[in-house]
Structure formats: structure tokens, C-alpha cells
Symmetry: C2
Subunit: 130 residues, 2 copies
Amino acid sequence: MVNEIRPTDGELEILQILWKNGPSTVREVNDLLNNVQDKSTGYTTTLKIMQIMFEKGLLHRDDAQRTHIYTPAVREGKIQSALLDRFLNAAYKGSASKLALQLLGNHKTTPDELAAIKALIDQLEKNKPS
Amino acid sequence: MVNEIRPTDGELEILQILWKNGPSTVREVNDLLNNVQDKSTGYTTTLKIMQIMFEKGLLHRDDAQRTHIYTPAVREGKIQSALLDRFLNAAYKGSASKLALQLLGNHKTTPDELAAIKALIDQLEKNKPS
DNA sequence: TATTGTATACGAAACACTTCGTACTATAAT
DNA sequence: ATTATAGTACGAAGTGTTTCGTATACAATA
């Protein structure tokens, strides 16, 4: 069930790194957490979290070598959809348009992005003429 | 700081009820949790959470009568903005347009709502001509 | 007045997440 | 070969959330 996917914030940070950088070792993930981001996480902390993510089925790992290599077990878009769905219900009681309006109103969006969104809306309107 | 506002899912459910129904007692909130929603939460559980929310400053309360009356200490829109910001960064690394596209693509939106969103985009394009 | 019902307050247990110390092991360097 | 380095595994502490039992107080009523 998609409903069961519930990565924590910490797990999501690690997933983001793996989605972006491809298969990685704990060391690589930990370095990126500490250098690229402001976080200062101990190595064994990152290791533990990734081990737990592996147990949960959130990550795959190749332990053929001493240094294990981890990969995400789930697609980025799938996780995002599941989280979005949950968030939409929890914070906006399911009103997607309310979320969209607040999103576009609060955040800077480039003209290109606005155009892409408008194009999608046009397409939705064509496909679903009421 | 808006950044500090971090209601849990359980707290958010209670806030939703208070935002919708106005000042309420623990009993009223608990009844709504149990009847309107599928949850089956004990009275003292709801009480405890609301007491903690009060301590955190998430709720105000009038304890002039034996039966206390609780009200939200924060506006719905403000909480939503804070949560949306956090969610956008955690799950979409800050790309509002990516979130918007997934949102509109995944969820049914009525023609009226689509029109409202398009109107907002038009206005944004007018105000910020690149 | 005594009993019953309904409040609040409090404490503790259960659970999950994060963090870190430590033990152990394999590889690399001297 | 010995030592240093870098990795995994494991356990336990700290924290926050949720849950519930229980003590206590007030109010209504028989």
C-alpha cells in the first residue's frame, strides 16, 4: 500500500540524496548531509538510520563488498505523491485548490513555471469539460 | 517564529475541529473525533493532547467554568503556510511548480477551482513581467 | 446526605525517531 | 606482523507523541 509509506524527515533527507546522487555509501551520504547541508550528523547516526530504512524496505543495499552500497527502493515521484496526499488531507482537508492557491501566492515562481502550470490547467479543462 | 510551529498530526486534527467549529470543550472535540471521523480516541487522551497544546501555546483556554473552553491560538492560514513551507522543502526541495504540477495532475479539481487558479496565475504574470 | 456522573490533573507505559558509544571486523599502511 | 584506519552491528539513552489508568473535585439528583 502506498499509504504505508511514511518516511520521517530524516529519512526523506537521505532519500533526496540518494535520488539525486544515485547508489551511495553511508560515508558519501553522511558527507553530503554535513557539507552540502548545515546538519552535523555523526557517522553512526546516519548509518543507523540507513540500516533502519533498509529494514523498513525503504532502501536496497548491496553488501557484496565490505562497504555497502545503498539505493532507494522507491521512486521519488511515488513517495512525493503519497506524502502530498497525506499532507493535503492533514492540512487542507483535501482541498487541492486551496493548497494550490496558497502555494502560488506564497512562493516565487518563475514565468516558465507559471506557464507550465497554466498549460496543464488548459489541458485538464479540455479533457474534462463539465 | 513561524518556523517553530510544528503541530503533530493528532494536534492538527484537533485544530481543524476548532477552526471549523469555534470554541469547544474537550468533550465536544472528542465526540467529533470519534463520530465524524473514524478515530476512536479515549476522552482522557484527547484531554491530554489539548492540555499539551495549551502548554505549547497552540490553544488558548477559558477556565472560568469547571468545563474549560478551548480556542485555537493560531490562524488556520498561518499554520497552513508554515506547514506548506516545511513540506515543500522536505519533499520537493523547494520546487513549488513541481508540487503544483503533481497536485493538479493527481487530484480531481473542479472547473471553478481550476479557473480560480488560472486567474491567480494571470495576476501573478501581470505583476511580475519578466 | 449519599451516590452517581462528569470534569481536570497527573503519572506512567508504549512506541518511534534520533543520537551516540562501543565492540567487532576487514582492509590498508608501516 | 603489527598497527592504524574505516567500515558494520548493536545496544541503550534521550526525546516527543499518544494512550490510558487513576486520583481528585465539583455538580446534580435520589
